[in-house]
């Protein structure tokens, strides 16, 4: 496994914190959108865009890039934030989220935003597209891999399990399904709405490798995604155990922050909290 220095890990933590700020600011500016999921997934997206993915922000259509399919399209603020920071488009454009004429649609659209890879939002459809793409890659003996970010709640959709069966049958080891296991969905906790556990065992029963990690630990996510490179013959599921709303104390673990408008002062408080975390991380970085 490639060694990643403490310094690099700290850099990724700083990036994740920056992405969280972008999420708050863009959703507040838009007046609507989703916060809880994107905040929980910030560490995973920092690792994806700044460590794991083989990609070129200046060439979003580069033939040999790894493909990242965002299945739970409503969490797109975190993807947009990561893409902007990575250089796909100016950070300033994040303010156009959900506005008429924007490339940053409320749910992402492939035809509007180069690098979005697919149009998504209706839940449960991402893994199917990722599996089809991975199958095409295998047919053509391509080296690129397909990463599919999913939510846990969307595992209730039948289509997702159709895709799990297909990927297992065809041993698509060029496919990595990342699950945002944050235990919440719109109406409450996943285990109350429709229990998913034992989720890891279910993936294994469908002929998948399963890795689990703390999705809010950058180093754990780095290790897990590195480990996927050494797994063969089956598709790979990475269950990332995330805290929804991570980084903003009043949002953490509160399913109401799946999506709700900010009341006056709430966004500012969130930004201030993240700023102070950012300062702390910068100070730690300086000591390394």
């Amino acid at each position: 496994m490639a060694h990643v220095s403490d310094k690099r890990i700290k850099e990724l933590e700083i990036i994740a914190n920056t992405l969280r700020r972008h999420v708050i600011e863009m959703v507040a500016h838009a007046g609507s959108g989703h916060q809880g999921g994107p905040l929980g997934m910030a560490d995973v997206f920092a690792v994806l865009y700044f460590h794991a993915l083989n990609h070129d922000p200046k060439k979003p259509d580069w033939e040999d890039r790894d493909r990242l399919i965002l299945s739970n399209g409503h969490t797109c603020p975190i993807r947009y934030a990561a893409m902007a920071e990575a250089g796909y488009f100016p950070v300033e454009e994040l303010k156009t989220l959900r506005r008429l004429g924007t490339r940053l649609q409320g749910h992402p659209e492939r035809a509007k935003l180069p690098g979005a890879e697919t149009t998504s939002g209706p839940l449960g459809a991402g893994l199917a597209q990722a599996a089809g793409l991975a199958y095409a890659g295998k047919m053509d003996k391509k080296k690129w891999r397909v990463f599919c970010q999913t939510s846990d709640g969307e595992h209730e959709a039948g289509l997702h399990w159709e895709a799990m069966l297909f990927a297992g049958k065809n041993r698509l080891d060029n496919l990595v399904c990342i699950v945002d296991r944050n235990n919440i969905q719109i109406d409450g906790r996943t285990e109350d709405i429709m229990p998913l556990e034992p989720l890891a065992e279910k993936y294994r029963a469908f002929n998948w490798h399963v890795l689990e990690c703390d999705g809010n630990s950058v180093s754990a996510v780095v290790d897990a995604l590195e480990a996927t490179k050494s797994l063969f013959d089956k598709p790979i599921c990475v269950l990332t155990h995330n805290v929804p709303g991570k980084g903003v104390s009043y949002m953490e673990n509160n399913f109401l922050w799946h999506s709700q408008p900010f009341k006056p002062g709430e966004a500012e408080a969130a930004v201030n909290e993240l700023k102070s975390v950012g300062e702390k991380l910068e100070a730690e970085y300086a000591k390394l």
Partner: protein, 331 residues
Amino acid sequence: MAIRNEAHLVENLLDPKIPQKPTRDGYGLGVIEAAKKDPNVVVVCADLTESTRNLEFKKQFPDRFIQVGVHEQFLAAGAAGLALGGKIPYITSYAMFCPGRAWEQVRTNICLNDVNVKIIGSHTGVSVGPDGATHQAIEDIAIMRPIPNITIIAPCDVVEAKKAAEAIAAWEGPCYIRFAREKTPVFTTEETPFEIGKATTFRTGKDVAIIACGSLVHNALVAAEELAEEGLDVMVVNSHTIKPLDEKAVLHAAETCDAVVTVEEHQITGGLGGAVAEYLARARPTIQEFVGVPNVFGESGAPNELVSHFGMDVPAIKKAVKKAHKRKTHR
């Protein structure tokens, strides 16, 4: 005969013993031609290899045949992924299941995504026969027409079906072709013109224009020939492409005849008739009669029996033409 020579139809057009074959056979032949020309053509199958006419493709191109089982939503969404990976997937099932069951995946993952997927819907129309209403797709055109980016084709016989199945490979973007299970007359030839988006006038006429699609085009021609003996001069237009509608041809038919009858083995709501009416209402309001399934579900029965029962046989078409003509002359 006012049958156009340029249509190159068979000579025994009106022979009751005209050879018959199902249009789904044309798909099976056409996709093989497409696959020979383009290595990216793949077939995705949902546990209906034989009845969607994929056996020969599977035999000739085993590495390009993808079996997904009874997973129609995956059929559509997975194909979107294959297309993103550079493939030209032909996704095959009964139309009731895809696009029927998989409509949202067709709409979002294929059409909004704007990827190069070819949707092959077999078993359309009441002529599916004894299997009954559950398997008779008679709403498929209506659910597909409002979706942007899609091209919709209903070939009139096995020869045209083959041409259509082959042609869509080189036609960039999402396509839907509806095919039929049952044998129907083979009345076009290799020389009959076929171009996606371009309707073909099979018979000239000035009293009433029939604009038809699918295998009922043959019934329309028979009806027109019989009506000629009764003194009515009926144009017959094969509007195989329902979207984009050949508006020029429809306008020409309306201006020439001043009355149209649309004929299709589909609900009269939202199909070819709807497309023609919507266009003419804007461009040239014209008297129109609709031959199709009259807002009821199908049922079990023999194919021809059902076509008659639901009012789409030759006598029913003649009746509709006469009614349109009467409305026109008594206006």
